[in-house]
Amino acid sequence: MSGGGTASAGVDAATAGNGSGASAREGCALVTGASRGIGAAIALALALEGWPVAVNYRSGHEAAAETVARIDRAGGRALALQADVTDRDQIDDAFDRLEGALGPVLVLVNNAGVRADDLALTMGDGEWARVLDTNLTAAFRLTRRALKAMIRARFGRVINLASVVGPRANAGQSNYAAAKAGLIGMTKTVAAEVARRGVTVNAIAPGLIATDMTADLDGSLLSAVPARRAGTPEEVAACARFLASQEAGYVTGSVLYVDGGLGA
């Protein structure tokens, strides 16, 4: 996929809040693909819980800066972290910089995702690989990297943004469905591997959520949603906030559907 050219991963904007609400834990949250939509809402929700938050983005510099500014205005602490999650070197570099700036990543939200829809009959290898690389392989690599600090800290929260697509069919999205179903499988197995270190790994499966990513979808999809409305990024973020909390420590390997009943 087209990445960030020659730009190196970096912490390019740091904004500190006043520290009121600071987390009791020495560490931070990293939300991938957080410049807008669901990722931005999750970043804000975690910041309001007291987590210093890294707002990762690939190319949406201005949107990421705006998300950081929103968190700052709300009294939280955040920084924008440019890195293409599909680029191993950029991810390693971003982690190093982030750990230096905000401490170990104790909450990882694998949210970055792309769509490249087509019928399987005509889908190119490129569209298949691009969606798998971003939505599944990158999430695995980020998880593997973040777990190092989490198991040492005897605390960690990995939250993978899956989808109602995967557990259920959606014509034109065989790549996306495969990636999201894979993410759920990965979630369950990694959860079992690290559970006794106080690290939980869960998935959130949103249905139709009103974001830029779904703006081009046919409105008739709504008629299939029992709630008869699209969800909001904030409704997804509320679930992430719960899964990241201390209180959710016994919830692991689970898939939380936020879909207005679509997958029911």
Binding site: K148, I151, R152, E193, V194, R196, R197
Partner: protein, 82 residues
């Protein structure tokens, strides 16, 4: 076999790590097996991480797979350091 200063340092780090995994201190000696100490693959992966941080040597899963006792691990790590 004489014990080098490096091996002593390694032993200290390994024993400390095993205790943090829940192994009982009194049972930890060079002859003790990881199986007997209830140390599993996740513990060994964490031990490899600790060793890498402390001594700068990387242990792969295949290295650790052949290690059965605490003494084996100490010897392997000390060899890698030297």
């Amino acid at each position: 076999m004489s014990t080098t200063a490096t091996e002593e340092q390694v032993e200290q780090v390994v024993v400390e790590a095993l205790r943090s995994f829940g192994a009982e201190g009194a049972q930890i000696d060079r002859e003790a097996t990881f199986e007997g100490l209830d140390v599993d693959s996740l513990d060994l992966a964490e031990l490899a991480q600790i060793v890498e941080e402390r001594f700068g040597v990387e242990l792969r899963g295949s290295d650790v797979a052949s290690v059965k006792t605490v003494g084996d691990a100490i010897t392997l790590i000390a060899e890698r350091i030297s």
